[in-house]
């Protein structure tokens, strides 16, 4: 009914939006959220292929991607908080000196 290519095109669109966000945004939290959007697009590809080939390994891999995304979000947000504490800004362009 719904060809596999439809799901893959949707996944490509989401991934492209994620990459665009990563490139054009200047707020570090929004950049992080674009990374999460990319990961979500990839998850959709995994689940679509798992449904096509009846291989549940695709869905299991989605779990691993989610776990890695959660770990990365935790550590990344901790880094963002400590950067904010020292530099007082969330704008990536202003964090351009190695020493304060």
């Amino acid at each position: 009914m719904i060809p596999l290519s439809y799901y893959l095109v949707l996944s490509a669109i989401l991934f492209a939006c994620g990459v665009t966000g990563f490139l054009i945004k200047r707020n570090i939290i929004t950049i992080f959220m674009s990374i999460e959007l990319m990961l979500n697009g990839v998850n959709l590809s995994f689940v679509a292929f798992a449904a096509q080939w009846h291989a549940l390994s695709g869905q299991v891999f989605v779990f691993f991607v989610m776990v890695v995304a959660a770990a990365e979000a935790a550590v990344g947000l901790a880094i963002i908080i400590s950067v904010y504490r020292t530099r007082e800004t969330l704008n990536v362009d202003r964090v351009n000196l190695l020493k304060l």
Binding site: M1, P3, L23, I24, M33, V60, F64, M66, I81, Y84
Partner: protein, 176 residues
Amino acid sequence: MLHLLLFLIFGAICVAGAVNLLVQRHPIQSALSLIVVMAALAGEYLLLGAEFVAAVQVIVYAGAIMVLFVFVIMLLNAAEEEHTAGSRVAMILGVPGVTVLGLLVAWMVVQHSNSPSVSPAALYADPTTHGAPATIGTLLFSEFLLPFEITSVLILIAIMGAVVLAQKPQHGKEEK
């Protein structure tokens, strides 16, 4: 027919949310758009017969990771974005570039897709095995045991890292 309609509705919500994330200037609005994208993706997973993954997507991604993002945005009192010189260059070069790349990938996918449709077999498959929590659990503990254990160590490291990184500066620095 109903499946196609549902796919189009959820797909439209996904794309609208993703574009909204790019267009909005305040991070909290981007975060809420991302939550909408994740919820619509959970709907797509249901269409693909992956009910456990859809539930976990809502519980973990939309219900925990995004709460963490919203929490940090509120804690750091993030304000609207400013447009700097770098961001203008990135927008002029980046948006067309990525659009071209995305369209290229989509075109290649459509060109090379001679595979049969996905949904009927997935949706009407035996719900006690396909997409069922029991089958996924068995797979996790048999074929994917090593990645499972490694990700548990990864989470432990992430917890320790996050706690150490987000600590307030210790006493040594307060004497300045």
